[in-house]
């Protein structure tokens, strides 16, 4: 297995361990952790730290909860693990556990296979990019991206944060070269132009829409903004 060179920061991993990031971002982190043994170890250390912190918490003016005890202890106990929404992920009960692109195929990490379980609908975008959106939450835009060999994304800037997890192949921008399992974060100050020679499959999470900054691609901005607003309009 290839080793990742770019990893999520401790801050992100800690927030993740505490359940304090959006679902979209959590999915990207969970997938990276499945692929990267050093982040698996690190996130479990940070989870342990979070638990120690949590144990020190002393609520001060909290309500009295003891009235709940009788209701709770009247419930029957379980003797086996419930299988509600957490049935084991078998490759055959998921619509998409592998993604095939040209002559390559790639087996998805479990959480991404689950995210893609309703099927993927690929759209062709400019510059040899294929995109398949998955609706994971109402706060982020999540998508699989496949850049065909030799393709280049128009220069763009991010209004918020964009996380990209490389699943297969490789791409580069002026900041570096990224291969399988790499996890990169771009924020709104970063303007970049990714390109790939060999082709690249990624999972990307945006917490606000992209803004293209050059040429005709700018025409895409209002459309993209609209789509993002629509995708994220169901906040409570």
């Amino acid at each position: 297995m290839t080793t990742a060179n770019f990893h999520p920061s401790d801050d992100i991993l800690r927030d993740f361990a505490q359940g304090n990031v959006t679902t979209g971002m959590s999915v990207a982190l969970s997938a990276h952790i499945e692929l990267c043994s050093s982040c698996r170890t690190r996130s479990s250390e940070l989870e342990s730290e979070s638990i120690m912190e949590w144990l020190k918490l002393e609520g001060d003016s909290e309500p009295d909860f003891s009235g709940m005890i009788d209701t709770i202890t009247a419930l029957p106990q379980l003797t086996t693990e419930p299988q509600i929404n957490s049935a084991p992920v078998n490759s055959d009960d998921l619509a998409v556990s592998e993604i095939h692109m040209l002559d390559r195929s790639f087996t998805l990490p479990r959480v991404l296979a689950r995210a893609a379980s309703n099927g993927l609908k690929w759209n062709k975008l400019a510059g040899g990019i294929n995109q398949a959106q998955v609706q994971i939450d109402n706060e982020t835009q999540c998508e699989f991206l496949y850049m065909t060999p030799g393709s280049q994304v128009p220069v763009h800037r991010h209004q918020g944060n964009e996380v990209t997890l490389v699943l297969d192949g490789a791409f580069e921008d002026q900041f570096g070269h990224y291969g399988p399992s790499d996890f990169l974060v771009r924020n709104k100050r970063d303007q970049h132009q990714p390109s790939t020679e060999e082709g690249c499959l990624c999972f990307a999470v945006l917490d606000s829409p992209l803004t293209f900054t050059s040429g005709l691609a700018r025409l895409f901005n209002p459309i993209n903004n609209y789509r993002f607003r629509r995708a994220t309009s169901q906040r409570f």
Binding site: E47, F65, M68
Partner: protein, 205 residues
């Protein structure tokens, strides 16, 4: 038996003994094994405020935080029979269960699609191993886990014998010498201990 990776992937939280009372693990096992309400009351007192505090931090909403206390402690009660020491400390077990319940509660509240749940995002470390073990060895694995847990409930003298024979892999003679007891005593303690374990896990003689 365990690879390094399995060991390091387990939460490394040391069990913290609060006050002078029983440890959180002892309480949780008592709730799971014998529906001990007194033990549950103690766990409730130790954890409800912490759970409320976590709920306030993640939801910033008092009503949701209260709901979380109810949901999380309900899960502690109903799932306690599934807890064993292989799953880490009681504290990390309750922490992850609370975080996961809170995550799913917020997703529901925000009307997010239900494709993904907290259990997909934080798969239980043991799931993958367990399912393989279960296919290969069926209920044996469950019994082994039970024995490891129940062994600690044996009288000290019997535990010492079991430890010599099954953990340090000594012969009966070596074990008797080590414990400075006659060979006959060792053998009868061993027999008693094994019989007691059998009864505890409900296996007929």
């Amino acid at each position: 038996m365990n690879s390094i990776e399995e060991v390091t992937s387990k939460p490394a939280v040391e069990s913290v003994k609060t006050d002078d009372g029983p440890s959180d693990e002892e309480l949780l096992l008592a709730v799971g094994v014998s529906q001990d309400r007194r033990a549950f009351n103690l766990l409730f007192a130790r954890f409800s405020k912490r759970i409320f505090a976590m709920g306030m931090k993640l939801t910033r909403n008092e009503q949701l935080a209260q709901d979380l206390v109810q949901e999380a402690l309900m899960t502690v009660w109903t799932k306690a029979p599934l807890y064993d020491l292989d799953r880490g400390t009681a504290q990390s077990w309750i922490f992850t269960l609370t975080r996961n319940r809170c995550f799913d509660m917020l997703r529901k509240k925000k009307r997010q699609p239900q494709t993904i749940s907290a259990d997909d995002i934080w798969p239980q470390e043991s799931d993958a191993e367990m399912s393989v073990v279960h296919e290969e060895q069926g209920s044996q694995a469950v019994e082994v886990a039970q024995i490891e847990r129940l062994y600690e409930h044996l009288p000290d003298a019997q535990q010492a014998v079991i430890e010599q024979i099954y953990i340090f892999d000594r012969t009966h003679e070596e074990a008797a010498a080590e414990l400075a007891i006659p060979l006959g005593t060792l053998k009868s303690r061993l027999r008693l201990a094994v019989a007691k374990l059998r009864t505890m896990i409900g296996v007929e003689q």
